[in-house]
């Protein structure tokens, strides 16, 4: 038995050592399932076919939080992947983990490849840039919040289907008509914190959190219990009471309710476009997020979601060269434009937006430019984005308190105050843990 094992081990060693000097392998852990997973695999395949020195190996590691946990465990065991896809709410955690990550700007500089952070849309690159101006991670799949509506359902309820409701009062009105026409779910939303509080704040040019939404320092505190926020949540709570807004769960759980036709109006990620296009058996429209017309400065711009690519530390210089070559490939306008058109994620550079526009894509697919035009604006300090520590917990706290509001157990003011207070405890803890 022992001899056999020894032989096997020797054979395995030979097999393993053979391709090692031929190609450098780059491990890429991601969270893109289904059609998006194929997209990621195609990117790697295309890059691998184009050159001989490096081989990008993709691994699906589950949902965003799951792959982050997996990478952390791997890092602790000295086994982290080269590239890790991290969702936007994990950004502050990654930025604070200085020993674990290698800034993208540094990786690109060491490789000698040309890399211009200014090529990116500022709302995107700004999000992933450290206070000292260094770009920390590579923008990859960025999305934003948009408004979807079912044109057929609108027609059936006698509403003008070609004119999307632009303001929240118009949404409530349309919802009432839909309900009167017998619709069971006139309006719902996914990612309630992201769409109804975070993007809502930027869209109305008010702060979600102090210190420029966390960009200005770790001593940021939540600020989403202003009269404007309370007014909006009150509106939604009233709609919920009348059956105009039907709560369909946390995170992206409600995503299926729009393409299936169950809910007629929907606020969600622009990344849902691919699924809507493939599955909706009705005419649909995509429109900018509704706003309150009496608020000065609205509409401003919406905030990004999605994920970016982080480079993990502790690898050989040779391997980082490969990472840089791959990032260089991903940054080309053609690759980005193709990705944008395929997935509905944002064209993260102005050049890829131009390429897409020139190809006539937006004319052929009306509504796909909504997310882009919402983002390509001059951002203010209040609308650049939201970057908070322990954001995962804060979002859950918001989910919990909002559910109390929708169920009528707490008033909107009570719920938002409680969410701010509980969320601030998380911010204080993050500040304490990362003060060094």
């Amino acid at each position: 038995m022992k001899i056999k094992l020894g032989l096997l081990a020797a054979a395995a060693a030979v097999v393993v050592s053979l391709p090692a000097h031929a190609q450098v392998e780059i491990q890429w852990w991601h969270s893109m399932g289904g059609a998006l997973g194929e997209w990621v695999n195609d990117l790697a395949k295309d890059f691998n076919a184009k050159q001989k020195d490096y081989k990008v190996v993709t691994t699906f590691k589950g949902s965003y939080p799951e792959s982050m946990t997996a990478a952390i465990a791997a890092f602790r065991a000295g086994n982290a992947p080269h590239i890790l896809q991290v969702f936007e709410v994990g950004t502050a955690t990654m930025m604070a983990s200085k020993g674990a990550v290698k800034p993208v700007a540094e990786v690109m500089k060491a490789s000698g490849l040309k890399f211009d952070p200014n090529a990116y849309i500022s709302a995107v690159s700004g999000y992933y840039t450290a206070p000292n101006g260094q770009m920390m991670s590579l923008p990859f799949n960025s999305s934003t919040t948009v408004f979807y509506y079912n044109k057929d359902a609108f027609k059936a309820a006698g509403i003008d289907a070609e004119k999307a409701p632009a303001t929240w009062p118009e949404v409530a009105l349309a919802a009432a008509k839909l309900k009167a026409a017998g619709h069971k779910c006139p309006f719902t939303t996914s990612w309630q914190s992201w769409t109804q509080l975070e993007s809502f704040s930027a869209w109305h040019n008010v702060e979600f959190a102090t210190k420029r939404n966390g960009f200005g320092g770790l001593d940021t505190r939540l600020a989403f219990n202003t009269p404007l926020h309370v007014r909006h949540i009150e509106n939604l709570a009233n709609m919920a009471k009348q059956g105009l807004f039907v709560y369909k769960g946390r995170n992206n759980t409600p995503d299926a309710t729009f393409p299936s036709g169950e809910c007629a109006m929907y606020t969600g990620s622009s990344g849902l476009y691919g699924s809507v296009k493939a599955n909706a058996k009705f005419a649909y429209g995509i429109a900018p997020l509704p706003y309150y017309p009496d608020v000065t400065g609205a509409p401003q711009n919406t905030v990004i979601g999605g994920a970016s690519l982080w480079v993990m530390s502790g690898r050989k210089a040779e391997e980082y060269k490969g990472v840089a070559a791959f990032f260089n490939y991903l940054s080309s306008p053609e690759v980005q434009a193709a990705s944008h058109q395929r997935t509905g994620y944002l064209p993260i550079t102005m050049a890829s937006f131009k390429v897409t526009e020139d190809s006539g894509f937006y004319k052929k697919n009306p509504g796909t430019d909504v997310a882009v035009t919402q983002m390509v604006r001059k951002v203010t300090d209040k609308s650049r984005g939201i970057r908070l520590g322990n954001f995962v917990q804060i979002r859950t706290i918001i989910d919990e308190e909002m559910e109390q509001i929708w169920a009528g157990k707490k008033s909107p003011k009570e719920g938002l105050d409680a969410a701010v207070q509980r969320g601030n405890e998380q911010l204080e803890r993050f500040e304490k843990a990362n003060k060094g």
């Binding site: 939080p65 982050m68 946990t69 952390i72 890092f75 602790r76 955690t93 604070a96 983990s97 200085k98 020993g99 674990a100 779910c185 709560y247 369909k248 769960g249 946390r250 309710t257 169950e262 322990n390 995962v392 917990q393 859950t396 989910d399 919990e400 308190e401 559910e403 109390q404 929708w406 169920a407 157990k409 509980r422 803890r429 304490k432 843990a433 990362n434 060094g436």
Partner: protein, 295 residues
């Protein structure tokens, strides 16, 4: 039990060698992680473990200052009590009936034991599908009957959902033990009682149930431990602790804080609290409940 059954070993080391595999397993899979949890509960680390700070009892202090954590004790008590009592009584009923079946007993037994092979998270998803407010089969039926099922916002319904899923998964285990217990009761006792004129109801309560008490006691301990520790997969996939925090039992918060929020110190502190609770509960059960058990 007065008779001496003790075996005397000549050698000093042989008993230790014989016990070594078991000791190693307990050491590696219980004492080591438990020790780690104790250590980590006194620390605060960043997500990647690159900086570690000793914070003394800060993690515990923070826990007990958190009103939602204290509320979670009540949720846990309600949940485990429901799971243990329902799980034990339903499976006892099933076992009693299965024990009386003469034809096709094997098929019944197999079907009843089946759910045990299902992973908790899968069980959660299964029940979630049936009760999904808009597309679930059961919620559709309930709506026809005039019940508006929406566990996304209704706390009682959410609790009902996870209790059902947790009980369903545990019934098989309980059933197996009850069936074995029933089969080991001498038929002569029951026949004698029947000859004396005792009906089935009386026979069950005066003969069968007392003779099953060791099994019932064992299952009580096991089911409480199950409800405390093994159910976070069900909760995560079915309700995520919602609505609000109304189905967030203690172990779910351990899982959430440790694996989703990456707060290992806080999560470890909660594990230590849980460990203390379960040790205390088990002691109580052995001190007080066991006195009423006839072996």
């Amino acid at each position: 039990m007065a008779a001496e059954k003790r075996v005397w070993f000549q050698s000093r080391w042989l008993p230790w060698v014989l016990m070594a595999p078991q000791l190693a397993i307990i050491g590696v899979f219980f004492f080591w992680p438990a020790g780690q949890a104790l250590l980590q509960s006194l620390q605060q680390q960043d997500a990647f473990g690159t900086s570690t700070e000793w914070v003394g009892l800060d993690n515990f202090r923070r826990l007990f200052a958190d009103a939602t954590y204290l509320a979670s004790f009540k949720t846990t008590a309600v949940f485990s009590l429901l799971v243990a009592t329902l799980g034990i009584s339903v499976s006892l009923l099933l076992a009693v009936f299965a024990d009386r079946i003469i034809k096709g007993a094997l098929a019944y037994k197999t079907l009843l034991i089946w759910p045990y092979a299902v992973a908790p998270a899968v069980a959660g998803v299964l029940w979630l599908f049936m009760f999904a407010p808009s597309i679930g089969v059961v919620s559709y039926g309930l709506r026809k009957m005039g019940v508006d099922w929406n566990h996304l916002l209704n706390s009682q319904q959410a609790m009902t959902l996870i209790v059902m899923a947790a009980v369903w998964k545990q019934i098989s285990y309980n059933f197996l033990f009850f069936l074995a217990g029933l089969q080991s009761i001498p038929k002569s006792l029951i026949e004698a009682a029947a000859i004396d004129g005792a009906g089935p109801w009386r026979r069950f309560w005066t003969i069968v149930f007392p003779l099953l008490s060791p099994t019932t006691f064992f299952l009580l301990v096991i089911n409480i431990v199950y409800a405390f520790f093994d159910t976070f997969g069900i909760i995560d996939s079915a309700t995520e602790g919602g609505p609000g925090k109304d189905t967030a039992i203690l172990v779910y918060k351990v899982y959430y804080d440790g694996f989703k929020a990456l707060d290992l110190g806080g999560s470890a502190a909660q594990s230590v609290v849980l460990m203390v609770i379960v040790v205390a509960l088990t002691v109580v059960q052995f001190r007080f409940v066991e006195k009423r058990v006839n072996y």
